[in-house]
C-alpha cells in the first residue's frame, strides 16, 4: 500500500475552501494591522493560507495544516531535503545539494 494521505487531505482542504462566500460583511475589527508604512519598502507579509480554525498550539512539522499542524512549521521552521514544485514538477535541492 502506498497511500498518499497528505495529498488526499490536502486536496480535501482545496475542497473545503471551495465553499464560496456569497455575501460580503464589512467587518472593521480584528486582524493584523497595517505594518508596512507608506513611503517605505515593505518588510512584513500578511498571509492566510485558508480560512478555518484558530491557530493550533502544534508546531510539529510531521503534520501539515490539514492534519492539525500550524502554518509554517513545514517550510518556515523546518526544511525538506529536496523541493519538488507541485505546479511544474521541477526539482531543486534544499537541505541536500544533490
Amino acid at each position: 500500500m502506498t497511500g498518499h494521505s497528505v495529498e488526499s487531505k490536502l486536496t480535501g482542504k482545496l475542497i473545503i475552501v471551495c465553499m464560496v462566500a456569497l455575501t460580503i460583511m464589512l467587518a472593521a475589527c480584528g486582524g493584523p494591522t497595517t505594518t508596512n508604512p507608506t513611503g517605505q519598502k515593505a518588510t512584513t507579509l500578511r498571509v492566510l493560507s485558508a480560512p478555518g480554525q484558530p491557530n493550533p498550539d502544534f508546531f510539529n512539522p510531521f503534520y501539515n495544516t490539514n492534519q492539525g499542524g500550524d502554518f509554517g512549521a513545514q517550510g518556515l521552521l523546518y526544511e525538506p531535503l529536496y523541493f519538488t514544485n507541485l505546479y511544474n514538477g521541477e526539482q531543486t535541492p534544499w537541505l541536500a545539494h544533490r
Binding site: 488526499s8 490536502l10 475552501v17 486582524g31 518588510t43 510539529n60 495544516t65 502554518f71 509554517g72 511544474n88
Partner: protein, 484 residues
Amino acid sequence: MANRLPGWLTVDHDATLTQWTFHLRTDVKWSDGQPLTSEDVVYTFELMKQYAGLDQTSVWSILKDVKATDTSTIVFTTTAANSTAGFRIGNQVYIVPKHDWSTKIGTDPTKFTNDKNPVTSGPYKLTTFTPDLLTYDINTSYWGTKPEVKKILVPSIKDNTTAITKMLQGELDWTGTGWDPSLDEQFTQKDPAHNHVWFPASNTVMLYLNLSKAPFNNLDVRKAISAAINRDNLPQGIAQYAKAANPTGVVTPNHNKWIKSDYASLKFDATDKVAGYMAAAGFTKTDGIWAKDGKKLTMNVDVVTGWNDWVQDVENIVSDLKAAGFDAKVNSQAGFTPYYDALTTGKYDAAISWTNSGPNPYFTYQALLSSANSAAAGKAVTGTNFMRWDATTSNGFSAQTDKLIADFEKAPDEAAQMQAIQGIEDIMVSQLPCLPLTVNVFWGEYSTKNWTGFPSAENPYDSSAPYNAPDFVNVIFHLKAATN
C-alpha cells in the same frame, strides 16, 4: 526548465532504483548553532518508523532502511524499485534536530507541540504564538539566501467572508480563499494595478460510481451515464473556474505533455449515445426511465451541503441524467464527515469528489486506481479509490492498472514513465473506472501593494495557493518589496 523531468530521478540513485543517496549541504546550522548532519536525517526517519502516526505520507511503506555513511551522506534503501522514492523521501519529510527533539518529545512525539523555543533550520523563527496570530521573523543566521520578507504575520480567520473582507480592506497580502466571480468587482476591478487572483489547475474532479453496486459495475451503464452529462455546461456561475476535464482525467493544461496524442482533443460521448449503451446493457425504458428485469435504475448523487460550486455541478448532472432517462437525485450530505464516510465505506451510488494533485499524473492515478487502495465490502478505502476499482469490480482491468502503476515505479527514464501513464489513460478512456468532470483550481488572491513577484498566468513558476507546503516558501523566496 519546467519539463526537465522526471525530477525525482535527479536524486542520486543506483541502477535498480532501490538505493537513494542524499548528499547534505555542509553549511546548514540549526538555530542554536549546531550543524545539521546525517544523524538528524536518520533520526527523523527512524522516528517516523517507530511512531507510525508521524509518517503521514506512508514513506515507510516503501522504505527498508536508512543509513548514514558519513556526516553528510544518507543512503535510503527501498523494498522494491521505485522511481518516486526520491520525491517521497526528499519533498515530503521535514528534518528535525536530534539533539533538541530527543530531550523534549517525551513518550509520544505525535503529541509533541514543539512550541517552546524550537530549534529550527528554516528561513524564519517563531516569535509569538496566539490562537489568533502567529508571528514569524527572519532567521538572521539562515544558511541560504535570505528572503526580502522579514516578518510574516499569520492571522486565523474563521470563514471565507471575513477573509475576503480583510483582503478587500488591505489587511492581508495573500490568501487562498474560495473565490466568487462577483467579488471581482470589489477586488480586482477596484484596483487592477495591485489586486490580483490566479487560479491555476490543481486536480481533476470525478463523478465516482460505486462499482461494488449493480448496475454501476456494468461498463455500458457507465458509458451511458458519462454520455448523458454535458461537461461544457458545468463551468459557469460559481463553478466557472473549473474547466471541463479531458477524458483521461489527466490535469489539463499542467500535464498535457503526458496525454497520448490520440486523446489530446478527445471529446466525451454526446447524449445521443446513451440509448445505444443502455440497450447494450439490457435496459429498456419504462415510464421514460431506464429499467432492467422490471427494476428502474435509480441513483443518488452525493455532495456536501454548502460546497456550493459542487452542489451546482451535481444539480446540473442530475438534470442531465433525468433528461436522459435516469432516475437521479441530489443527495446533499449535511457535512464533510458523513459524506466522506459514505464515500470511503462504499455506502453511496454516485458522488462528486476530488483526485489527488501531484507533480505528474502518476500521483493522481496511483491513489485513484491502485487496487491496494480498494477494500472489502464495508471497509474503508484509501487514496481516492472511492469507486473500489479492484479484481472484483474491474472485469480484470485492475490487474493491468496495477501493473502499469508498478511499471511507472520501476521506470528508469521518462520515456518508460510516459508509456506507463499512457497505458493507464487507455484504461481510463475505455473502461471508465470513474467519470472525469472538470479540473479544480488552486485558490490564490494577492495584492502587489506591498509585495511583487507572486506567481501569475504570465509568470507561472509555482501554484498561487498559500496552503501548499513547501511550495508557499518558494513563493516567499520570490517576493520583492514594493515601495508604497
